[in-house]
C-alpha cells in the first residue's frame, strides 16, 4: 500500500494539473506534487534501510535497494524539473510560444511520464515493467514534439519509432524469460515476478536466457541510449523542452538501465556472470567511444549534453559489467551523480536557450557576464560532468576505474585504460566547447540578467546534491549502494 501511494501522487498531480480551472495554479500543483513524491520517497528509503525489501499487493510491487535508488533519482530530478518548468514555461508563455491550455497538458504529460518511470521501478512483474517502459515512450512523444515545429516533429517521430522498435525487441526477451521461467516454476502468474525469478534463475535453460538477454540488451539498450542504438537520443534530447531533456537524460535512461540490470542479474545467475558482464562492458565501451567525436566536434550545446549522456550510460554499463564490489557501487553512485549533474546542465542549457534563442554554440559568448548565475553553475557543471575532481562524478568514475584495475583481469584492465583515454578526450571536447561559450566578450545585444527565480532555485537544488556527493556520501545512500551490490551479486 505504501508503495502504491508513491505511484498515486504523480497521477493525481497530473490530473489535477490538467483539470484545474485556474491556469496559473497548475505549476504550483506540479511543484507540490513532485515535492510530496520526493519526501515520500525519502521516507520509503528509510523503510528500505530497515527492512531491505518492501512488497505490496501480494508481490505485485516489489521494492529493494536498486529500486529505491532509481525512484529516488526519479523523484529528485522530477522535483527539480517541476520547479524548473515553472520558471521555464512561464517565459515561454510570456513569449507566446505556447498557450496556457497547452501548458496544462505539458504538466499532465510530465507527471504521467514520472508516473510511468516510477512504475517501471516498483513493479515486480517483468512483463508489466516492459509495458511501463513502453509507457514512458508514449508519455513523452508529445513532449519531444512539444513545440510542434518541423524539427520537433522529426525528433518525435524518430524517438517513437526507434524506441518502440527497441522495446518491441525487448519483449522477445521477456517472452523467452517467461518461457524458461515457466519451465521451472510451472504455474503461470508468478512466472514473471522478479522476486521469484531471481531465486530460481540458476535452473533456467541457459540457451534461452542467453538469447533473451541479447534481446533485452538491444531492446532496453535502445531506450537507455547504449551505442549503436542511441541514435534517437541526441535528437530527442535536443528538441524536447529543457526540463524534459533533463528528465530524459537524468532518469529515463536510468530506468531502462534498471531493466537491463534486472535481467543481468537473472542471466548471470543462470549462465554465469561472464556472459552478461562482457556484453555490458562491450556495449558500455562502444557507447563511450562513439560519443567522443560528437563531443569533440559539436555545434549544438544540447546535443553535446545528449552525447555526454550516451557516454555516461556507457560508463554505467561498464561499471556494472566489471562486476566488482566497488565498480557496481561506483556505477550506481554514478547513476545518481550523472542524473543530478546532467539535469543541472540541461537546466543551464534551458536558460541559455531562453536567453539566446539558439542552440548554436558559436552564437553564444560571455554567458558568465550575461547570465552570471547560470554561467557559474554551468562552469562548475562542466567540470563536474567530465569527472574532474573534486566533483561528484569523479568519485564514482574513480571507483569504477579503480575496480577495473583491481580485478587484475587483463581484458578488464585494457578496457579500463581505453576508457581513461576516452574520458580524457571527452573532457577536452567539453571544456573546449563549453568554455568558449561561458567566457569571452558577450556578443550581440542580449540583455543582462537571469530569466526566472524558479529556474535558479531548481539549479541550486541540484547543485546542492552535486556538491554534497562530492565530499560526502550520506550513510543512507551508502547503505543502499551496498545493498545494490548484494542484489547484483545475488548474495
Amino acid at each position: 500500500m505504501i508503495i502504491l501511494l508513491l505511484l498515486i501522487v504523480p497521477v493525481i498531480t497530473a490530473i489535477a494539473c490538467v483539470f484545474t480551472k485556474k491556469h496559473g495554479i497548475s505549476k504550483y500543483i506540479s511543484i507540490a506534487g513532485s515535492f510530496i513524491a520526493l519526501v515520500y520517497n525519502i521516507y520509503l528509503n528509510y523503510n528500505i534501510y530497515t527492512y531491505k525489501t518492501l512488497q505490496g499487493f501480494n508481490y505485485f510491487f516489489y521494492v529493494d535497494a536498486l529500486t529505491i535508488l532509481t525512484t529516488q533519482i526519479v523523484t529528485i530530478v522530477a522535483f527539480a524539473a517541476a520547479l524548473y518548468s515553472a520558471g521555464y514555461m512561464e517565459v515561454e508563455l510570456h513569449d507566446c510560444r505556447i498557450s496556457e491550455k497547452k501548458l496544462q497538458w505539458y504538466y499532465f504529460l510530465m507527471h504521467m511520464f514520472i508516473f510511468t518511470m516510477l512504475l517501471v521501478c516498483v513493479i515486480n512483474n517483468l512483463g508489466v515493467m516492459w509495458v511501463a517502459i513502453e509507457g514512458t515512450t508514449l508519455a513523452t512523444t508529445f513532449l519531444v514534439g512539444f513545440y510542434n515545429k518541423k524539427q520537433h516533429q522529426e525528433a518525435a517521430w524518430k524517438y517513437i519509432i526507434l524506441c518502440t522498435v527497441g522495446i518491441t525487441l525487448a519483449l522477445f526477451g521477456v517472452i523467452l524469460t517467461y518461457h524458461s521461467a515457466k519451465g521451472v516454476l510451472g504455474e503461470i502468474g508468478y512466472a514473471l515476478n522478479w522476486s521469484d525469478l531471481r531465486t530460481v534463475a540458476d535452473k533456467f535453460e541457459p540457451h534461452l536466457m542467453k538469447l533473451a538477454f541479447l534481446f533485452i540488451l538491444v531492446g532496453y539498450g535502445t531506450k537507455a541510449g547504449l551505442a549503436p542504438m542511441h541514435t534517437w537520443l541526441p535528437d530527442a534530447h535536443s528538441q524536447a523542452p529543457s526540463p524534459i531533456s533533463a528528465l530524459f537524460s537524468g532518469v529515463l535512461i536510468n530506468c531502462s538501465m534498471y531493466g537491463i540490470i534486472r535481467y543481468h542479474i537473472l542471466t548471470s545467475k543462470c549462465v554465469g556472470s561472464d556472459y552478461s558482464c562482457t556484453l555490458l562492458m562491450i556495449f558500455g565501451l562502444v557507447s563511450v567511444i562513439v560519443s567522443i567525436p560528437f563531443i569533440l566536434v559539436q555545434k549544438d550545446y544540447k546535443r553535446l549534453l545528449a552525447f555526454s549522456s550516451v557516454e555516461h550510460i556507457g560508463f554505467i554499463a561498464l561499471g556494472i559489467g566489471f562486476g566488482g564490489m566497488y565498480s557496481v557501487y561506483g556505477a550506481e553512485l554514478h547513476t545518481f551523480n550523472h542524473a543530478v549533474t546532467k539535469s543541472l546542465l540541461f537546466f543551464c542549457a534551458g536558460n541559455l536557450f531562453l536567453k539566446y534563442k539558439t542552440t548554436e554554440m558559436e552564437n553564444i559568448k560571455g554567458v558568465i557576464k550575461t547570465l552570471p548565475v547560470t554561467g557559474t553553475i554551468l562552469a562548475i557543471g562542466v567540470f563536474a560532468i567530465t569527472g574532474t575532481p573534486p566533483f561528484n562524478i569523479f568519485v564514482s568514475e574513480f571507483l569504477v576505474l579503480a575496480d577495473g584495475f583491481h580485478s587484475g583481469n587483463l581484458f578488464t584492465i585494457v578496457f579500463t585504460c581505453i576508457l581513461i583515454v576516452c574520458i580524457t578526450l571527452i573532457f577536452v571536447g567539453f571544456i573546449y566547447n563549453m568554455y568558449r561559450m561561458i567566457f569571452g566578450t558577450p556578443t550581440g545585444d542580449v540583455p543582462k540578467g537571469e530569466t526566472s527565480k524558479f529556474t535558479i532555485a531548481a539549479m541550486l537544488f541540484l547543485l546542492f546534491f552535486v556538491l554534497i556527493i562530492s565530499f560526502y556520501v550520506p550513510p543512507l545512500l551508502r547503505e543502499v549502494l551496498r545493498n545494490i551490490y548484494d542484489i547484483v551479486r545475488n548474495a
Binding site: Q151, V165, V174, D235
Partner: protein, 221 residues
C-alpha cells in the same frame, strides 16, 4: 493423446506458415492498401491461432486475449490505418530503398537467421514451439526489415505492428500467452502507440507535405 497433440501442433504450424507468407506479402507488395490488408489478414490468423490454442490448452484467459486481439488487431488498427490513408490522401506507391527481388532474398536470409538462432532452444521443445518460435522471430525481424527498407512513415507503423504480431505469436506459441495483465498492458500499449504514430503521420504530412521519411533529415551531425 499424442496423436492429438501432433494434430494440434501441425494446425498451429500451418497457421504460422500462413502468417509468414502474409508477412512476405508485406515485403513483396508495393501498394499500401494491400499491405494493410495483409496485416489484417495475418492478424486474423493470429487471432485464430490464439483461439485454437485456448481451445487446445483449455486455459481460459487466452479467450479474453483472443477477443481483444480480434477487436483490436483485426478491426480497430487496420481501420484506423485505412482512415489515415484516406485522410491524408496517399496516392503514391510504397517506395523502397531495396528492390523487390533483393528484399525477398534478404527476407529469406532473415528467416534463416531466425531458425539458426533458435535452433539451440527448439531442439528440446515438444510443444508447438518447433516451428512457431523461429517463425515468430522471423515475423518480428521481417517487420523490422520492412521498417528499414520502406520509405513511408505509414510503413513504419505497419512494420512495427508486424513485429508486435510476431511477439504475440511467440508468446502464444511458447507459453500459451503471457499473464493476463501483461497481455492487457500490451494491447493498450499497441493501441496507444499506433494512435500516437497515426497522429504524427498526420502532422508530418501537414508540415512536410509528404510522409516520405526521407525528408526527415534535418537533425543530423
Amino acid at each position: 493423446m499424442t496423436q492429438q497433440i501432433i494434430v494440434n501442433s501441425r494446425t498451429i504450424d500451418i497457421l504460422a506458415v500462413l502468417m509468414l507468407i502474409t508477412t512476405i506479402i508485406l515485403i513483396g507488395t508495393s501498394r499500401l492498401r494491400t499491405c494493410i490488408w495483409a496485416y489484417a489478414c495475418r492478424s486474423f490468423m493470429l487471432t485464430l491461432a490464439s483461439g485454437l490454442i485456448a481451445y487446445f490448452s483449455g486455459i481460459h484467459h487466452i479467450y479474453i486475449t483472443t477477443g481483444i486481439s480480434l477487436a483490436l488487431k483485426v478491426i480497430v488498427i487496420p481501420g484506423f490505418l485505412f482512415y489515415i490513408v484516406k485522410k491524408i490522401n496517399i496516392k503514391k506507391e510504397v517506395e523502397s530503398y531495396i528492390n523487390y527481388t533483393l528484399s525477398l532474398i534478404l527476407a529469406c536470409g532473415i528467416i534463416l537467421i531466425a531458425y539458426y538462432s533458435t535452433q539451440n532452444i527448439i531442439q528440446f521443445e515438444n510443444t508447438f514451439m518447433r516451428h512457431c518460435l523461429p517463425i515468430a522471430l522471423s515475423i518480428t525481424l521481417l517487420g523490422f526489415f520492412v521498417m528499414i527498407s520502406r520509405k513511408q512513415a505509414i510503413t513504419h507503423i505497419l512494420g512495427l505492428i508486424t513485429m508486435e504480431d510476431g511477439m504475440f505469436f511467440a508468446a502464444l506459441s511458447t507459453s500459451y500467452g503471457m499473464p493476463l495483465i501483461v497481455e492487457l498492458g500490451l494491447f493498450f500499449d499497441i493501441l496507444v502507440s499506433v494512435i500516437i504514430m497515426g497522429i504524427y503521420v498526420y502532422r508530418i504530412k501537414e508540415s512536410f507535405d509528404t510522409i516520405d521519411t526521407d525528408s526527415l533529415r534535418e537533425l543530423r551531425e
